[in-house]
Symmetry: none
Subunit: 249 residues, 2 copies
DNA sequence: TATCATATATTGGTCAGACCATTTTTGTTA
DNA sequence: TAACAAAAATGGTCTGACCAATATATGATA
C-alpha cells in the first residue's frame, strides 16, 4: 500500500540531482538505456520516471537527440529579469549588488561546510579558469568564471542559494555585453582577478568563513569598479569618435 | 521533430475529458488494459500518459485498485523548481538562510536610499501588519508581513534584489505550512516580531544602514529559532499521540 | 583540403508478452 | 450470516523487439 513505486523513486533521485546542482540546467542526460542500467531498472520504468519529470517541467525530451534538463527552472523569477535586463543595461550593477549579498554568504557557508570533494572541485574549476584565459572566446572564459563561483555555491549546501545564484549567472551569461567582455581582456585585470579568485578559494578551502566572505566582497567591489572604468573608457572613445566624424550617422 | 507523441495525445484527451466533466473528481477510470484497447495503444504508452497526468495532479493510482480522477484538482503547476521546494519542507530553512543575505542587504540600502514616500509606505505597511494580527486567516497575516518586507526591498532601489525577494516570499506564501502558521499564533511571538519589525523600520526610516542590517538579521534569527522550536513541539505532540494509541493505523 | 551527400549508429518512442505485487471479488465453510 | 481462503482483477515492472528521428562517421567530389 505504502510501498513506493520504483519509477517514483527514480524520479525523486533525478529531481534531487537537479536540485543539488549535480545536473545543471540545459545539461544532457545519459541515454535512457544507460540510465536504466545505472539505476538498475527496466527502460520502461525509467521512461515513466522521465515522463513524470517532463510533466513537471524539469526535463525535455528530443527523439533521437536525448533528454535534457530544462534551461529555465524558475521562469517566474528569471523571465522578468531577462526582460528588465534587455531594457536597462545598468541593471548589471543591480545584479552585482545582489551578488555581494549572495556570494558573500555562499563563500561564508562554503568555508564552513565544504567537503574534501567540494574542495577538489573548486580547485579544478579554478585551474580550468586559468587554462581558459586568453582564448578566442570571452564567453568561454565567462563560463569558466561562472563555474568556479558555482562550485563555491555548491559547497555552501543551500539549494535555494544555489539556484538563485545559478539564475543570476545565467542571466549574466545570456546577456554578456561588450564591456563585460573587456573584463577578461583588459591589461592587468586578469592578474588581479586571478589573485582574488585564489584568495577566495584559499579562504574556503582553509575553512575561514569570515575571510572567505571578505574575499568575495573584495572581488565584487573590484569587478564593479573595473566595469565602471570600462564603461567610462568606452564613453570617451565614442565621444572622441564623434569629434572625428561629427556629421557621420 | 514536431510530431506529437502518442502518450501526450492520450494524456491530452484524458485531460480534456476531466476538464469537460466527462470524467468527474473521484471517479474511477477503466482498467489500464481496457483503456489501452479503447485508445488503441499499447499499455506502456497508456501508462506514460497516466504518469504524466498523475505528475500534474489530475490522477492518482492505486495498485490493484485502479486509477482515479483526483478529488480536488490541483491548480496548474507553477515553476518546476519552486514546486520542488514546496515538496521538500527542509528547504524552508535554506530559504531563511538566503533571506539573511538578501534582507540584510535590502535593509542596509533602504536605510541609505529611501525617499519620503518609501518611508510612508513602510510605515503604512507596518500598521497594516498590526491590524491584521489575530485575524481568522494566518495567510492574511503572512501576506501583510510579506508586504512590509517588500516595502523595505522597494526602498533599497535595486530591481534585481526586489525581484528575487518577491520570488522567495511568493514561495513562502504558497507553501505556508502548519508550523509556519504557528508563528503568528504562538503566545509571545507576535509581540517579539512586532518589536523587531519596529526596530527594523526605525533604523531604515532614521537612515542607519548598519543598524537596519543588524535588525533584519536579528529578526530572521528569531524566526528561524522559533520555527525550529515549533517543529520540535509538533514532533513531541506526535510522539505523545503515538504513545496514546500505539496500534492505531 | 574543405564541403556535401550518404550510410551507419545512436537515441527516444512504441509495442507485445510475460510475470510480480496488491487489492477486490467470489466461493466455501462454520 | 460472518469469516476465511482462493481466484480474478488491476496496477507495477521486466525483457526483447521494432520503429522514427537525430547525430555522427564515412566516402565522394570539387
Amino acid at each position: 500500500m505504502n510501498k513506493p513505486k520504483i519509477a517514483d523513486i527514480i524520479a525523486h533521485k533525478m529531481e534531487s540531482m537537479i536540485l543539488e546542482g549535480v545536473l545543471k540546467p540545459g545539461e544532457k542526460l545519459p541515454a535512457e538505456r544507460k540510465l536504466a542500467d545505472k539505476f538498475e531498472v527496466s527502460r520502461p520504468t525509467l521512461r515513466e520516471a522521465i515522463k513524470k519529470l517532463t510533466a513537471k517541467g524539469l526535463l525535455r525530451t528530443h527523439q533521437g537527440g536525448g533528454n535534457y534538463v530544462c534551461e529555465s527552472l524558475a521562469p517566474s523569477l528569471t523571465d522578468p529579469l531577462l526582460e528588465i535586463f534587455r531594457e536597462r543595461p545598468n541593471t548589471r550593477f543591480d545584479v552585482l549588488e545582489v551578488r555581494h549579498a549572495l556570494e558573500g554568504q555562499a563563500a561564508y557557508y562554503a568555508a564552513m561546510r565544504c567537503t574534501e570533494v567540494d574542495k577538489q572541485i573548486i580547485q579544478e574549476r579554478y585551474q580550468a579558469m586559468l587554462e581558459t584565459h586568453g582564448g578566442p572566446d570571452p564567453r568561454a572564459e565567462a563560463k569558466a568564471d561562472t563555474e568556479f563561483h558555482m562550485a563555491i555555491a555548491e559547497a555552501a549546501d543551500n539549494v535555494v542559494l544555489l539556484h538563485v545564484m545559478r539564475g543570476l549567472f545565467t542571466l549574466l551569461l545570456d546577456s554578456i555585453s561588450f564591456s563585460h567582455d573587456k573584463l577578461y581582456t583588459k591589461p592587468g585585470v586578469f592578474k588581479k582577478l586571478k589573485n582574488q579568485h585564489h584568495a577566495l578559494m584559499t579562504a574556503v578551502v582553509d575553512g575561514e568563513p569570515d575571510k572567505a566572505r571578505q574575499a568575495a566582497h573584495d572581488h565584487l567591489v573590484y569587478i564593479e569598479k573595473t566595469l565602471q572604468e570600462i564603461d567610462k573608457e568606452e564613453a570617451r572613445k565614442e565621444r572622441a569618435l564623434r569629434r572625428l566624424t561629427p556629421f557621420a550617422k
